[in-house]
């Protein structure tokens, strides 16, 4: 193995480890601030920069870092794909299980450019769909909602076995392993996500495509790869082949990017990942990479008709996706309880890239991915499901990790003023109302300084006809912030007798209840 390739593998490993490290740090330690720049990889993502700029006409400051990636691509080509992208590295790893000649026509390379055109045009019309296909967003989402929960679940199942074994030394061993696993990688608590399995299958699908062809995703589908490919067309660093080349074709077999390296004057910089495999494998040592090469290169030919079709599809998709009632002014989904600090729904969707960082970091695990609750454009955006977990009164982590500002970063003082919905009581199920049984749990856990749940002492008859006094809860609409802890902790556990819906949310001008 020659040096550039060895360096490349080391760099890939380093970035993958950095990614995993930052991923694991996306978890509360009990302090107000998270402390680590966990969204760093997304900050460097120019696809998200461009689409957010187009859809929301604004961009979070962190994204200016992605200009560095654009600049690097202009100089060195698609090194981001070949050397840095953690999904690319994973594709490399899985793909190394199978090495075969490309089976798919290189014409399919253009698919990713068409997807890119589609995403950019739909963002131009105010719909942010890039996050669904963006590789970094996809990877963080898949890790957060599927891979990590599954890993944790498997580990815990093993630990339960050791812990439950009828042998004390096995139990002690189990405790030691548990302590080590907790330090190393286990989450504080087992996460559970709606659709976790589905997002996991999609991710396995992306990885599995490597068995059809190595780096299938990077070659044919990745819209970020397409964007960088376009920049790469003008890159200064170019491949050149010396006279020694006898066109043996060894390079083509190891090329992971459909860059047609065997066609001396038709090497495609837009497809090349600069992985240096061709340089490494060339028996004549005829391949070199350098600045200022005059050798002709292959061009990018997507096809004008196809581009127009993709652009039109992107334009048509926007009104089509918005034919649902949710798009109607004043129509609100009661289940759409957004994280605190979320922008008004339209603006929120223009920014949210469905990366799942907010769900990963949510301290109670209550933030869940939507399916169709927010329409197709809102797929996998965060929604609070208080039955799973409530919004912790003094926690502001979701706003800290949101890469696009769809969820604003709030101070604790600001957050105390933000309502994400309103609690309502189901008197048919509530113990003091329906069953003459004492209970004040919702009031006890209500976190606002002046409690938003107040108790009224009333005398009622119980089943035996005895007169007893119970305290019946009421909601103070002015004070309730919709955090949902009352719903999470309600002892009527299967379908809580108090529940939160989105009405009264601060971010909406129309979803209001009080005068």
């Amino acid at each position: 193995m020659n040096t550039p390739r060895r360096i490349r593998i080391a760099v890939q490993a380093a970035f993958l480890l950095l990614f995993v490290f930052l991923f694991l740090q996306t978890e509360s330690k009990g302090n107000d601030d998270l402390g680590y720049p966990v969204k760093l990889f997304l900050d460097f993502d120019p696809l998200i920069l461009i689409t957010t700029l187009l859809s929301a006409h604004a961009v979070a400051a962190g994204f200016l870092l992605s200009i560095i990636v654009i600049a690097v691509t202009f100089i060195f080509g698609r090194v981001f794909c070949g050397w840095i992208c953690p999904l690319g590295t994973l594709n490399n790893m899985v793909g190394s299980l199978r090495r075969s000649k490309p089976r798919i026509s290189p014409r399919w390379n253009t698919a990713k450019y068409l997807l890119l055109v589609f995403l950019i045009v739909s963002s131009l019309f105010g719909m942010q769909l890039a996050g669904v296909f963006d590789p970094l967003s996809l990877l963080i989402r898949s890790f957060s909602l599927a891979v990590y929960p599954a890993l944790s679940s498997a580990t815990n199942a093993g630990l339960d076995l050791l812990y439950g074994a009828p042998n004390q030394s096995v139990n002690a061993f189990g405790e030691a392993v548990a302590a080590a696993a907790k330090k190393l990688y286990l989450p504080f608590q087992q996460p559970f996500y709606e659709q976790g399995w589905f997002i996991g299958i999609l991710f396995l699908g992306v990885l599995g495509l490597n068995l059809v062809e190595q780096r299938f995703w990077c070659r044919y589908l990745c819209p970020l790869g397409a964007l960088l490919g376009i920049f790469s067309r003008w890159s200064f660093l170019k491949r050149s082949v010396s006279e020694g080349c006898n066109e043996c074709g060894a390079c083509t077999r190891v090329c992971v990017g459909n860059a047609t390296p065997h066609e001396k004057d038709n090497w495609k910089p837009t497809e090349c990942l600069y992985c240096r495999n061709c340089d490494d494998v060339c028996p004549k040592n005829a391949v070199s990479f350098g600045f200022g090469s005059k050798q002709p290169t292959g061009s990018l030919n997507i096809g004008r008709r196809r581009v127009v079709t993709a652009a039109l599809s992107g334009a048509v998709a926007v009104p089509l996706i918005r034919t649902v009632p949710l798009a109607k002014q004043g129509f609100h989904n009661p289940a759409l309880v957004r994280p605190p600090g979320s922008l008004d729904e339209r603006e929120f969707l223009q920014r949210c890239v469905k990366c799942g960082e907010c769900m990963k970091v949510c301290i109670t695990g209550g933030l869940q991915p939507t399916l169709m609750e927010a329409g197709l454009e809102g797929i996998w955006s965060p929604v609070l499901v208080p039955k799973i977990g409530y919004c912790e009164y003094r926690c502001t982590l979701c706003g800290q990790v949101c890469p696009t500002g769809a969820i604003k970063r709030l101070t604790i003082q600001e957050k105390e003023q933000v309502s994400i919905g309103t609690a309502m009581i189901d008197k048919g199920r509530c113990l003091p109302y329906a069953h003459s049984t004492p209970c004040i749990v919702c009031e006890e856990v209500c976190p606002t300084g002046k409690k938003a749940i107040w108790l009224e002492e009333v005398t009622v008859r119980d089943a035996d006809g005895n007169v007893i006094t119970v305290k019946q809860p009421h909601i103070d609409l002015k004070t309730c912030i919709g955090c949902g802890i009352c719903e999470t902790k309600c002892p009527v556990i299967d379908r809580p007798a108090i529940y939160v819906t989105s009405i009264g949310e601060t971010r909406s001008k129309t979803n209001k209840l009080l005068l």
Partner: protein, 299 residues
């Protein structure tokens, strides 16, 4: 006495109570200090805690060399100390230090929080203070709850935390606070923090349940933190207007006696608290504060 023997004894004594033998259970074991309660006031939480325990004979009366001790504060809420929702961290740290000085092998501190445990442990200041004092702070591990026979009037059995049940000595360190249903949360209610399962359902019969659970977990010592007390919007508060500074520590070996006295800190009668009344009626402890031997110190 090992914790298990103690449990067995507890079961036997409750049985004897059930068949009508009046037995002040706390006299059945441990040292019998000269005072029922020590009530110390002063500006330094650490000093008044030490003084209160000294007044009862010092920590060596309660903790023997090599003991594994569990100190159980209230770390239920994501609040900083000035909000008086969790036990004062200086009080907890002082007790941990005294236990270690008395020769304890290990001092463990934990609580099954209501809010997120990480935030509760950090924001309460307790995790930090205990670590500095040399104690072991751990989060509740749901695997470590085991069903314990209680045979109480309401609770027949409940999953309780094994680390507490297996400890040699248990020191209860509650904070005195307002509570919407039980009126006040003091020592006996602090045991909810070692109950597993769906513990919220005990609110249906809160007073009976608290007595049942308290008789299943008898502490060696109770140190009630009334440095700051919460007078309304309890048990988690959130409004500094509801916090009153009393700069007081109440210590005793009988948890009914401590809670009975705790009521008086809020201008209430001990009989105003249902669980104190029921416990006293069952002979688990005294509730008439006028008849208690109380050592009052002001420093």
């Amino acid at each position: 006495m090992k914790r298990r023997d103690f449990l067995r004894l507890t079961a036997l004594t409750s049985l004897s109570v059930a068949i009508g033998v009046d037995n002040r259970t706390n006299q059945a074991f441990g040292a019998a200090p000269a005072y029922d309660l020590a009530v110390v006031t002063g500006a330094s939480p650490q000093k008044i805690t030490s003084a209160a325990i000294d007044a009862l004979g010092g920590m060596t009366t309660f903790v023997k060399r090599g003991d594994v001790v569990v100190v159980k504060p209230n770390i239920g809420w994501d609040r900083t100390p000035e909000y008086a929702a969790n036990t004062n961290p200086e009080v907890v740290a002082a007790i941990v230090r005294l236990c270690l000085e008395a020769g304890a092998k290990k001092v463990k501190v934990f609580d099954r929080s209501v809010n997120d445990p990480r935030r509760c442990y950090v924001q309460s200041g307790i995790a930090d203070a205990v670590k500095k004092a040399g104690g072991e702070v751990s989060y509740i591990d749901e695997r470590k709850f085991r069903d314990v026979k209680i045979n109480g009037s309401v609770l027949k059995s409940w999953p309780l935390y094994t680390e507490l049940m297996e400890a040699d000595k248990v020191i209860n360190v509650p904070i005195a606070k307002h509570h919407g249903l039980s009126r006040l949360t003091l020592g006996m209610k602090n045991w909810m923090g070692v109950m597993g399962g769906s513990r919220a359902s005990i609110h249906q019969k809160i007073n009976e349940s608290l007595v049942d659970i308290s008789m299943a977990i008898k502490p060696t010592l109770v140190v009630l933190d009334a440095v700051r007390v919460l007078t309304a919007n309890g048990p988690q508060g959130g409004n500094l207007k509801d916090v009153k500074k009393l700069d007081t520590i109440v210590a005793g070996v009988n948890q009914v006696a401590v809670d009975a006295y705790g009521a008086t800190l809020f201008g209430m009668k001990s009989s105003d608290l249902g669980y104190v009344r029921i416990a006293a009626q069952n002979g688990f402890g005294p509730m008439d504060t006028a008849r208690m031997k109380i050592r009052k110190i002001s420093i």
